[in-house]
């Protein structure tokens, strides 16, 4: 029973363009939403987050959008850079627990 789904296993974009990563969830009890970035052989690194009471949070090139009615979370990266190439996980918090999606491999081509 996957509560958090990242339906795109991979995404390829050109340098300078926008990258849009998506995540859908089913559990209405999630109250905080996060994106993590992971390079090979390293642990996930926190990127950006958003509270359930907001619908947008921006940090530099990264913007997270939350649509609670659609139970949909997205991450926009603009402009995309080759160094952004990594696996991106969405994660959702309820009490002390984070529930992760399966990840999307983003490749940014020079």
């Amino acid at each position: 029973d996957q509560q958090v789904k990242q339906n795109s296993p991979s995404l390829s974009v050109q340098e300078g363009r926008i990258s849009i990563l998506n995540c859908d969830y089913t559990n209405s009890m999630f109250d905080y939403f996060l994106w993590y970035k992971k390079y090979p052989a390293e642990g996930p690194t926190f990127l950006i987050s958003i509270s359930s009471i907001k619908d947008k949070n921006e940090d530099g090139r990264f913007t997270v959008f939350l649509n609670k009615s659609a139970k949909h979370l997205s991450l926009h990266i603009v402009p995309s850079q080759p160094g952004d190439s990594a696996v991106y996980f969405c994660a959702m918090s309820s009490n002390y627990k984070l529930t992760f999606g399966k990840g999307t491999l983003l490749t940014v081509n020079p």
């Binding site: 996930p44 987050s49 996980f89 918090s93 984070l98 992760f100």
Partner: protein, 116 residues
Amino acid sequence: DTAVSQTPKYLVTQMGNDKSIKCEQNLGHDTMYWYKQDSKKFLKIMFSYNNKELIINETVPNRFSPKSPDKAHLNLHINSLELGDSAVYFCASSPAGASGSSYEQYFGPGTRLTVT
């Protein structure tokens, strides 16, 4: 200056053996976690400790036993290892206290366990 460290990074062992993975964080966080990333790449929580007290214990075989000697350390001991235990195990910590949700968690580099 490593924030969350794990040892060893790689662990290859035979079925039936007992092994431990160590985790230490120097962030001053109250809460620590163990996650398992299986072959399907899902990161799933196994355990969480807050100030040395177990607060999350997911459906994990009792061959897995976490031990927290102090709030900066959370070790994972696995008895009678099985082939299905092969995975990458991540330790994490967060500043979450006794109330409220866990927000940003900081992960260690992972320990790749291979059971043969």
